[in-house]
C-alpha cells in the first residue's frame, strides 16, 4: 500500500475503528452532542458526564467511516479528567494536526496518529466530526453540528 495510505490508516486508527472504545450510551450523561455529515452519512452522538467543570466520563454511539469512528473512539479516551478549558485547548491542537499535520503544543498523545489526514482533504471532515460534537456537548449546545 502507498505510504500516504499507511499514514492515514495508522494501526491505532484501524484498531479503534475495528474495536471502538467507550462505544455505548452513557445513562448518567449530563450533556450530549450530535455530529452529522449528511453527504457521508456519518452520524455520531457524544455523551459526556461532567463533575463540575471536569469531564468525568465520555462515550459515543453512531456509525460512519473508519476515520470518523476511530476519531470518536480516541477522543472519548483522551478527554476524561480534563476541564472544559483543557478540552477546548486540546480541540485546537487536534484541529491543527488534522488540517495541517503539524503538532502544536504537547499533550496530543495517541491523537498524533491523525497527522496523515491532511493529505486527504476530503477526509478532514471525517476526522474532526466527533470533536465538534464533543465541543457542542461540553458547551451545552442544542443543535447538531456538521463538518461538511
Amino acid at each position: 500500500m502507498a505510504e500516504d495510505l499507511d499514514e492515514l490508516y495508522q494501526q491505532v486508527i484501524l484498531d479503534h475503528c475495528k474495536t471502538p472504545r467507550n462505544f455505548r450510551a452513557l445513562p448518567g450523561a449530563s450533556r450530549r452532542g450530535e455530529g452529522y455529515n449528511p453527504l457521508c452519512g456519518d452520524n455520531y452522538t457524544v455523551f459526556v458526564a461532567m463533575d463540575g467543570d471536569r469531564v468525568r466520563e465520555a462515550t459515543f454511539q453512531g456509525s460512519g467511516c473508519c476515520i470518523s469512528k476511530a476519531s470518536a473512539s480516541l477522543l472519548t479516551d483522551a478527554v476524561k479528567g480534563r476541564t472544559k478549558e483543557e478540552v477546548k485547548a486540546l480541540f485546537g491542537q487536534v484541529h491543527d494536526i488534522i488540517t495541517t499535520g503539524r503538532v502544536t503544543g504537547d499533550g496530543l498523545g495517541k491523537l498524533a496518529v491523525f497527522a496523515g489526514v491532511h493529505k486527504f482533504p476530503a477526509r478532514v471532515k471525517c476526522a474532526i466530526l466527533a470533536w465538534h460534537a464533543l465541543v457542542a456537548a461540553v458547551d451545552g449546545a442544542e443543535t447538531p453540528v456538521t463538518t461538511e
Partner: protein
C-alpha cells in the same frame, strides 16, 4: 450495426484518460456521476467561441445568425436522438434536475391539487423526489411509492395496479437506477399508467446515451436527461414533452426569449419549446451536445449498451467470487454499473484506498438516501462504466478490491 466498434481507438479520443493519478494509471469508474468528453466535443466548444459566438434569436448580424442556426440544429439533433416527432418537443434546461423541476412547477402547478397523488418509486434519485415533495407541500397532494424488492433492486410490479388509484395524476420513475443498476420496463410502466389516464415522466439520466431511447416506443409524456453524463458539456439538460402536454403548460421562468409581447402590466408567451426557455441559453453547450450525439450514434447505442453491460456483468461475477462482498441490484440484465460493500468497511474508506491506486469510484448514498435506508445501509461503493472502459481495467480493479479487503481485514 453489427460491426464491432474499435473500442481501444475510441478510448484514444478521450485526452483526460491518458494520465496517472497518485502515480497509477487512471481508471475512471465514476461514469454514472459524469462521463468524460471526447476531443471532438472539446473542439466544438472551442470552435464556437473562436468563430461563431453571439447571442441567439436576437441579432440580425452574421454571428448571431450562425449561433442561432447552430443552436437550433442542436435541437433538431436531440429530437432525432430521441425519435421525437419534432424539434418543438425539445426544451433545453440546466440538467435532468431542472427538467424535472420544470415539470413539477409548470405542469404540476396547473394540474395537481389537494388530494391528488403522485406516484414515484423507492429507487428515485433525489432530483426525482424532492421536486415532487415540494409540489405536494404546495398543493396538498400526496406521494406514493412503488416498493423495491430488496438487495436485488427490482420494482415490485405486482403492487403497481393497486397503487395506480384514480387519485394518481402523475407517475414519475427512473429508467435506470443510478445506485442499483436496475433497468425498469419503461414501456410497460407507461402503458399501465396510460390505461388509467395517468401522465408519465421518465428520468433518463442514466439511460440516454447508454442505450437506445425512443420516446415514441416508450410511450411516456415527459422524459429528462443531462448532457454531461453522455459525453456532452456540464450545465445542460433536455426535457422532452409530448406536444399536447407542453402546450397545456404555463411558463416556468419569465424573462427574455420566452415572450411574444410585453406590456408593463402583462405579457404574452411564445409557443413551446421557447415558452420554457427564459434568458440566454447554454448555446455552446447545445452545439457541443450535438457533436456528442453524433459521436455516440457513430458508435451505436446498442453496441455501447452491450459493451457496458458485459463489463458490469463481468465485474459483478468477479466481485461475487470474493468473500464478504455484498452486491446490490439484479444479478442479470443490469445496466453498466455495480454497487457493493466489502464486509463492514465504510464505502468512503473503500473509495479512498481505491483512489490511491488510481481507481475513481463513487462512495456514498448516491442521492438515494431513502433507498439506502430501505436497504439498511448508510452508503455503497459504486463502479460505473462507459464504452472507453476495458476488461483489463476491471481486472486491475478486482486486484485493488482484494488489497482493500486485506488492508481492512475483511
Amino acid at each position: 450495426m453489427s460491426r464491432t466498434p474499435d473500442w481501444a481507438g475510441l478510448r484514444g479520443d478521450f485526452p483526460i484518460l491518458d494520465q496517472r493519478v497518485h502515480g497509477q494509471p487512471l481508471i475512471y469508474f465514476d461514469n454514472a456521476a459524469s462521463s468524460q468528453k471526447p476531443r471532438a466535443v472539446i473542439d466544438a466548444l472551442r470552435h464556437y467561441y473562436e468563430h461563431d459566438n453571439a447571442n441567439v434569436h436576437r441579432g440580425i448580424h452574421e454571428l448571431s445568425n450562425r449561433a442561432t442556426t447552430a443552436f437550433e440544429a442542436g435541437r433538431e439533433r436531440v429530437a432525432r436522438f430521441l425519435n421525437a416527432g419534432s424539434a418543438d418537443e425539445i426544451v433545453f434546461t440546466r440538467g435532468t434536475t431542472e427538467s424535472i423541476n420544470l415539470v413539477a412547477a409548470a405542469w404540476g402547478g396547473a394540474h395537481i391539487k389537494a388530494g391528488d397523488r403522485i406516484l414515484l418509486t423507492e429507487m428515485e434519485h433525489h432530483s426525482n423526489l424532492v421536486p415532487w415533495q415540494m409540489l405536494a407541500q404546495r398543493t396538498g397532494a400526496e406521494l406514493r411509492f412503488v416498493p423495491v424488492t430488496g438487495d436485488e433492486g427490482l420494482l415490485d410490479l405486482a403492487r403497481l395496479d393497486e397503487l395506480l388509484t384514480p387519485q394518481v395524476k402523475l407517475f414519475a420513475f427512473t429508467h435506470i437506477s443510478n445506485s442499483l443498476g436496475t433497468i425498469n420496463p419503461v414501456a410497460e410502466l407507461c402503458a399501465r399508467a396510460r390505461a388509467r389516464g395517468v401522465t408519465t415522466l421518465v428520468d433518463a439520466a442514466q439511460s440516454a446515451g447508454h442505450m437506445p431511447v425512443d420516446v415514441r416506443a416508450l410511450g411516456c409524456d415527459f422524459l429528462a436527461f443531462s448532457s454531461h453524463k453522455i459525453c456532452g458539456p456540464t450545465g445542460l439538460g433536455v426535457l422532452w414533452g409530448r406536444p399536447a402536454a407542453l402546450d397545456a403548460m404555463p411558463p416556468y421562468q419569465g424573462g427574455g426569449e420566452m415572450i411574444l409581447s410585453v406590456d408593463y402590466q402583462k405579457s404574452s408567451y411564445k409557443q413551446p419549446p421557447h415558452r420554457f426557455e427564459a434568458g440566454t441559453p447554454d448555446i455552446s453547450g447545445v452545439i457541443a451536445l450535438h457533436t456528442a450525439l453524433d459521436y455516440l450514434d457513430a458508435i451505436g447505442r446498442e453496441a455501447i449498451f452491450r459493451h457496458d453491460q458485459e463489463l458490469a456483468q463481468y465485474t459483478y461475477q468477479r466481485l461475487a467470487e470474493l468473500p464478504n462482498v455484498r452486491l446490490f441490484g439484479p444479478a442479470t440484465d443490469r445496466a453498466g454499473l455495480v454497487s457493493f460493500l466489502l464486509g463492514d468497511v465504510h464505502a468512503h474508506d473503500v473509495v479512498t484506498v481505491a483512489d490511491q491506486r488510481g481507481v475513481a469510484l463513487r462512495g456514498g448514498h448516491h442521492c438515494n438516501q431513502p433507498l439506502m435506508k430501505r436497504l439498511g445501509v448508510a452508503s455503497t461503493a459504486r463502479a460505473s462504466f462507459y464504452f472507453y472502459n476495458t476488461r483489463a481495467e476491471v481486472d486491475r480493479f478486482i486486484e485493488v478490491v482484494r488489497e482493500i479487503q486485506k488492508f481492512f481485514a475483511v
